[in-house]
Symmetry: C2
């Protein structure tokens, strides 16, 4: 038979935020190639809810403590091999396959190898992790656009003020630099910032400050990856915002 590779977005790591189509793909899969904490967490929750293991063989290609992740070339080679062997494969990725998920590369490789492949969108952490902290990325009177970037990349050239929300993924390591850069522009040092660690996970924690204070706060609280950083006036809507920042 002909194989099929489905690149499925697992969402932020909560079974309820998987899509209906993603769930059906997982239940029909023969092999699941899972990466990242979010994807693995969804499979664990699904098996708990079912009360029995999934039928599929699960290949875990994410990072483990003490182990390196399988490199991207290895993942692509595996998907192509499984697809050519006629297997029904789910490639389960945290968030959305097309938002910093390298889904485009995996799609292109499968297609070039003659393997049927499709993308099933997922809920990106860029939007859903701020949401779990009560922060909408847009809000009438507070924000009318948003930008998503990783770490420090492309922050320097980014225009806009506090009504243009900025979301940084994988931004903990470069937080001090990013905050300094963003504070230099129209946003200023008083612009509100939230860090949401381990969104939807057991270690979920929200830290709120300003571009001028956030790096010191993060150091003091020992903020760690995975975390999503949100910059802009929408942060004031969070129930975690201190009184001096909060919207009345």
């Amino acid at each position: 038979g002909t194989g099929l590779v489905q690149l499925v977005g697992a969402g932020p790591g909560e079974l309820g935020l998987l899509t209906v189509r993603g769930l059906r793909a997982i239940e029909a899969a023969e092999v699941i190639v899972a990466d990242r904490l979010g994807a693995r967490a969804v499979l664990d929750q699904l098996e708990t809810e079912r009360g029995r293991p999934l039928d599929a063989e699960i290949v875990d290609v994410g990072k483990h403590p003490g182990h390196h992740a399988v490199p991207q070339e290895g993942i692509i080679a595996l998907l192509v091999e499984l697809g050519r062997a006629g297997r029904r494969v789910v490639r389960l990725k945290g968030g959305d396959p097309y938002v910093f998920g390298r889904g485009g590369e995996e799609l292109a490789a499968c297609r070039a190898a003659g393997v049927d492949v499709e993308v099933v969108p997922g809920i990106t952490s860029a939007i859903s992790v701020p949401a779990v902290a009560g922060i909408p990325l847009t809000h009438r009177g507070l924000a009318t656009a948003f930008t998503v970037a990783t770490g420090h990349d492309q922050i320097a050239e980014l225009g806009g003020g506090r009504d243009h929300t900025v979301v940084l993924l994988m931004g903990v390591g470069t937080l001090a630099n990013s905050a300094t850069t963003l504070a230099r522009g129209e946003r200023g040092a008083g612009c509100p910032v939230a860090i949401v660690e381990d969104g939807y996970g057991a270690g979920q924690r929200v830290t709120i400050g300003t571009l001028g204070t956030i790096a010191a706060q993060a150091a003091r609280r020992g903020v760690r990856s995975p975390a999503v950083v949100v910059v802009g006036d929408v942060v004031r809507l969070s129930p975690y915002a201190p009184a001096e920042l909060a919207v009345d």
Copy 2:
């Protein structure tokens, strides 16, 4: 009893892209307050798949041909009234409640009125509609950040080049202006642009050109709302891209 209002993101209008939690909320609701084409389409597909109507009463507050939409104040008043009456309510919104969905306003109003309220994220059209045209918002070597805005707002101050993807929602009416403005910057008139009309709907159609040509193409093809506009080198990955723009 105490009421509950759930602000549920319906996704782009395909039942399979509703979340598991969103589906369960709809099935448990007593009243569903639905707006926009996307939300209504999902309910129709769900009733077709079940083979019988939903148990909930459906209140349609979206625009119909010849009718105005219920104004936002009226929707908020309805949610608060239903919640206070102890009803279990789903407020079903196209895309994600927190991305140009005015979910933050509805949440704040319910909370202020003492009505229990929660947000269930959905798949935003800003990401999933480009995806259905084969366009990832980020891609190694082609794009490392993306910005989502409506129409012409905040386009002028937006920095970045073709590796910073721009998504315009509700941008058909202002397309010519937006394209001219974006072409003035680092992106240039040759920067690829895609318009995806009626994503996931019966009238889905993809038009691809450049910032220099897209307004004339859109006029010639009679491009209409709802449509998502994507600007940047990622457009070259679409199978709809003409040979001279396509990535080899």
